[in-house]
Structure formats: C-alpha cells, structure tokens
Symmetry: C2
C-alpha cells in the first residue's frame, strides 16, 4: 500500500476480510470458463463462504468440488437460486449466456458476479440494466486483469495519490497464447457465443482505461479485428485493436491478440502504459520479458523524482473482493459502480460491432 | 549484423564507406534544427566530403564551423547551389520551408537530403513530387529514429530474416522532453511553421510502420491531437496519436507527446513494438527505464525459440547513409525509395489535417 505521499510501500498489509465466516454465503454456477476458480478463491479469501455449485456437466462439477472440497453439489440451477442462504451467485457461463443467467440470478433476489465479458450484445445489456433497476440487485464483473493483478491495483493507488498527475492516455496490450485447437471448447472459436475478441478480452482493456483515466464514458474512435492466421476457425478473431476518446478528453488505445509466441515463459506479455501530465507508469503484468526475475507484477514509475521499479507482488492484495462483499451486505458501491461495469461492457460491444474486419485486406 | 539464420550478431562489422574521399561532395544549408549535425556526421562517416555551409544566421554558421572545421563558409545560399562540385545539399530548415528549399536544390541539379518532416502541406508534397519527376533528383529524408538508431536497424534485419514471421501490427511511442519555453525557437510553438505534432515527430512513426510492415500505402483510421498542458502556447500540440490501416491489412498505432518527466535519465522513452505471426520485437530505443544498464539500443526478441535480449549498440552501424551516397552516385534506390519517403510524409500530413482536437474536451 502507498503511504500518503506515495513513496513507500508496506508489503504484506493485505486487505482485511469483509466479514466473519457464514455472514456472506455465495454459490458458483456455470463453470464454462476457468476464471470461476479465481473468482471463487478471491471471494473466499475476502471472507465469503462458498456453499454450493452447479453446472450441467458432471465433470466440471467434479473438478470444482476437488478444488473446493466440502461444497454442496446442487442438483440443478434452481436449487441454488432458491437457496435463501445464498446472497450472491458467481458464474462463468459461455459468454453469450452470461446475461440470461444473470437475469435469473437477480430475479431470484441475489447479486450476480460474472466473469468478463458480462454480455455480448446491446440487447442483453439493456435487459441487464432493466433488471438491475427492477430488482435492485448487482450485476458485477470479474475484470480480472485489473482487479486480480497487484501491479494494476498499485497503479490505481499511485494515480489516486497524484504521482503522475492527470491521466491523459492509457495504452494496453493483451496478447494471449491460443494453444492447440482442441485445447479450447468449440464456443471459443465461434463469434456468437464468444462475442468476438474486442467484446471478450477487449473488455479488460476498456475497463482499465475508464478506471485509470477516471472517465465515465467514451466514444469508440476506431476499432479493427482480423483473422490473420487461423483459417480453420473462420469466425475467430486472432487480432483486435481499438481507440477510444474519453468524454473528459483523454485517450485510449489497446491491442489484443492470440499471437503469444511459443518461446515466451508465460501465456502473455500483458502491458499497460499510463501517461499523465507529471509522469507515467508501465505495468509488465505477467512477465518482464528476457529479464532474469521470474513472475509478474512489475511496475515502472517515472515522474519528477526519477525512475522507479516496484515489484508489486505482495503489496496490495485484491481489495475489490472485500469491497464487493461489503457492497452486497451494505448496498454500497465501493468496489465498482454498476454504471462503470456496464459502461466498459457497452463500449466493448460497440467496439466489436463497429470494427473493420481486415481479414480480406490481409489476403484471406 | 545477423547471420543467415538470424541467431548470431557480429559486433563492429560496420558498413563500409560508399566511396573514396572527394568522390561525393556535399554541403549543408539552413541549420534551424539540430538534426543537421547528425545528418552531416553520418554522411561524412559514410564517405561523403563536406565542402561548405550556409545559414542566414552568422551564429548558426559559426557553431557549425566549430563542429566541422575546414568547411567553407558560403556567402549565400546561391554559392552552394551554383557549386558544381556539390552533388547533394543537406538541410534542416524550419519545417514549412523545407520543401521550398528542396525545390531550389533540385532545380540546381542537386539531390536534397532534408530533416524530417520533409514538408508540412499536401501542396508542398505535390510540388516536391513534380520536381522529382522534372529534375530526376532525389528528395530524401532523415527519418532518424529508424535510420540512425542501431536497434531499429537490427529489427529490420530480423524481420527480413523471418524471425517474427509476417508483421501484423506496429505500435510506436515517441515521448519527448519539451524543456523550458525559451529553450525552443518561436517557430517550434506555432502550428504553421512546425506542421503540428503528427506531421513533425509523427513522421518518424509512420515511416517506421511502413518499413517494418512492408506496406506501400496506408489509410489514416483515426488521429487526435491535444494541447493538454501548454496554455501559453495555444498553437502547440503537446499530444498526438494515430491509427493507420495498411493496404496489405496490417495495423499501426502510435502516440507522440511532449510529456517526458523531469526524472527520466534521457529525453524520451521511445519504444517500438512489432508483432508478427511468429514472434515479436520490442525496441527500447533510448533507455531501458529503471534498469541499471545505461544508454539505449535495447532490443527484445520473443519467438518460438524463447526470449532474447540484444544490446544492439555496435551491431549494425547506419547503412542508410552509405546506401544514400551510392544511390546518388549510381541513381539507384537502395537506401529508401522516393515513394516511401513521400508516402510517410503524406500520411503524416493527412493524419495531422484530419486529427480531432481534444483540447476543448479536456476543458481547455
């Protein structure tokens, strides 16, 4: 954590738990994306009590039960939705089914915490907004690349402390390793269920931009997708990029792709560059490429005081999850406003819907 | 230099001189930008023979003569243009005067080598194209951030050798330190003489993109400028960015700005990221921020073989200048085609002319 003047970091001062055991009971359902494990673990670490799990696939249920022993194996989705103990349901369904499930969760009087992207169409978004208004429940989103990465959390504290002045521009790189065709479910390769690259992994990038630049809204200035090298999966975008202009005059650009080379020691060289009037921050989230130090969470801060490297692992923990539980218990918006969560999703969908497809230009 | 399979680098194998002393005589005139020193030195190192210098300002002439003793101090521009020994004139005039001077040089039967940006308007560009056709002379441009930076040269060799496959996307960052108001000439702060940020320092970025991605032409997909923090210089752009889509379906994004923090050990943390189908290259051109190793020319290569750091200083020299001299002597296009030099300029001007100005949105 940063001290007030932003120069010192006290390692190991993790966020306290939000509540005592049993005070915040949640369940997990629809386990299509592996993110459900990170979401569940983080809620437990923040004080949540995992009660039950459901997925139509017995193998997915069994895997989850092995990771979280003692969890009740529900017999159907309804068993969870009807359980009066359960305050929140975490889910990582196929992307285009996340909204429909969320509506069922909220209609059952529970808060919803879904993997990103939280939905794939503007119609789903409108339905989600309406359900939030009608039920008063939350539709929160696991934008993991900021919320569950300590250097990304630390960057937020530094900006808050004024260490780089007013944020003018955020640039993000989200490269991922795609791996063998058979290593991914069928829906991953198809446009409608996955939502496309800008909607899916682009949503991390847009959320980060809005957060770091303190922008409430933005316009999609330019967006592009392409399938450069996966002719056997013609609906798949292996490349996407996007420029946004914030309502407050700041700028964003990000590039996402599935071209992490085999020789990289991890799945992706994710970066975030944040330019402010008085300095800049670079995050090398998951690897400092070709450098000896292993692991991620590398933060580089340059401002009037000089250049500073901070190994951010162990500095902040993940306050989002504590705050999310408190928000659910106390009906506040500490962790993230509903509008912010939806706005990032909306812009991701708009970027995808209006993207120029470069595939034919590239001769494919 | 890379060996054929691209794995080994032999340091110190610098390009040979293009010719013997006296075989390629050149002069320098219009010394408004300090780049003229780098241009002159590089031509001399490549085998050129500097004969004379001219600038209307006696102080600029005197400074230049101190740096290059033995140079003839011409009494006027005409003295250089009428000198039959002189084959090429190097110039770094105020940006919007570079073209007019170039036309005089070419009309005098000499090749022209100008600092970037080579011109500031599409009208000037048309005149330059016409003069090249009419006179058969060259209008070459000192795009120094690729041509005069060894890691940038080495990246070109690596791409040629196929080390990262087909180039899909190039991203560039060109941050600069602006320094005190009085440290820059008046024309630097004004739109018409300087051409604006995308035309000026943006031209480096666009030239690099076209070169690395092997694109002959591109479209400006989005461009933005702003004056976020220099209210006393209202015509000055302290920020600019731009996205280009190549004719062959590749993409480019770059950001240029004047926000290098005081604490950075050099004038700018210039970066180039080149994504290919089989790997990627990152250039940290002038500094590896917060790392011990001083100086620039840091190249990071990631592909199927792993992650590799290459300290590129001393690996390639600057073959452009040798090739430029040979091109002038033999009327070839080894160093750079005329069309490439003009296309980069054209796109820079178009990006500037069509840029959205974010200054009012940012509340200024």
């Amino acid at each position: 954590m940063l001290t007030k003047d932003g120069r010192e970091f006290t390692r190991g001062e993790m966020p306290e738990k939000a509540c005592r055991a049993g005070e915040f009971v949640f369940s997990a359902a629809h386990l299509d994306h592996g993110h459900i494990y990170g979401m569940t673990r983080a809620l437990i670490e923040a004080g949540g009590t995992l009660k039950s799990v459901w997925d139509p696939d017995p193998k997915k249920r069994a895997d989850f039960l092995r990771a979280f022993p003692g969890t009740v194996e529900a017999r159907c989705e309804e068993e969870i939705l009807e359980d009066r103990d359960v305050r929140l349901v975490a889910g990582a369904a196929v992307t285009n089914e996340r909204c429909a499930f969320g509506l069922r969760v909220m209609d059952a009087g529970k808060d919803y915490f879904t993997d990103k992207a939280p939905m794939t169409t503007l119609g789903q978004l409108a339905a989600a907004r309406e359900a939030v208004r009608r039920t008063g429940r939350k539709y929160m989103v696991y934008y993991s690349e900021r919320l569950h990465v300590e250097c990304a959390v630390l960057a937020g504290y530094m900006i808050e402390d004024g260490l780089i002045g007013r944020v003018l521009s955020v640039t993000g790189f989200g490269p991922y390793r795609v791996g063998p065709r058979e290593g991914r479910p069928d829906w991953f390769w198809r446009r409608e269920p996955s939502g496309g690259i800008l909607c899916d992994i682009g949503s991390h990038q847009i959320e980060q931009y809005l957060y770091y630049a303190r922008e409430e809204d933005a316009e999609v200035t330019s967006s592009r997708v392409a399938n450069y090298a996966h002719p056997d999966a013609p609906e798949f975008d292996d490349f996407g990029d996007c420029a946004l202009t914030g309502k407050g005059g700041s700028t964003n650009y990000f590039r996402v792709d599935w071209f992490t080379p085999d020789g990289l020691r991890t799945w992706g060289d994710g970066r975030t560059l944040i330019l402010g009037t008085k300095g800049y921050i670079e995050l090398r989230k998951f690897i400092n490429v070709a450098a000896d130090r292993p692991g991620g969470n590398h933060l580089f801060l340059v401002n009037g005081d000089g250049e500073q490297y901070v190994s951010a692992a162990g500095t902040t923990g993940f306050p989002f999850f504590r705050d999310l539980i408190l928000d659910c218990l106390e009906r506040t918006e500490r962790a993230m406003t509903q509008e912010h969560a939806f706005r990032a999703a909306e812009l991701s969908i708009r970027a995808q819907n209006t993207a120029a497809d470069l595939t034919p230009m590239a001769g494919r």
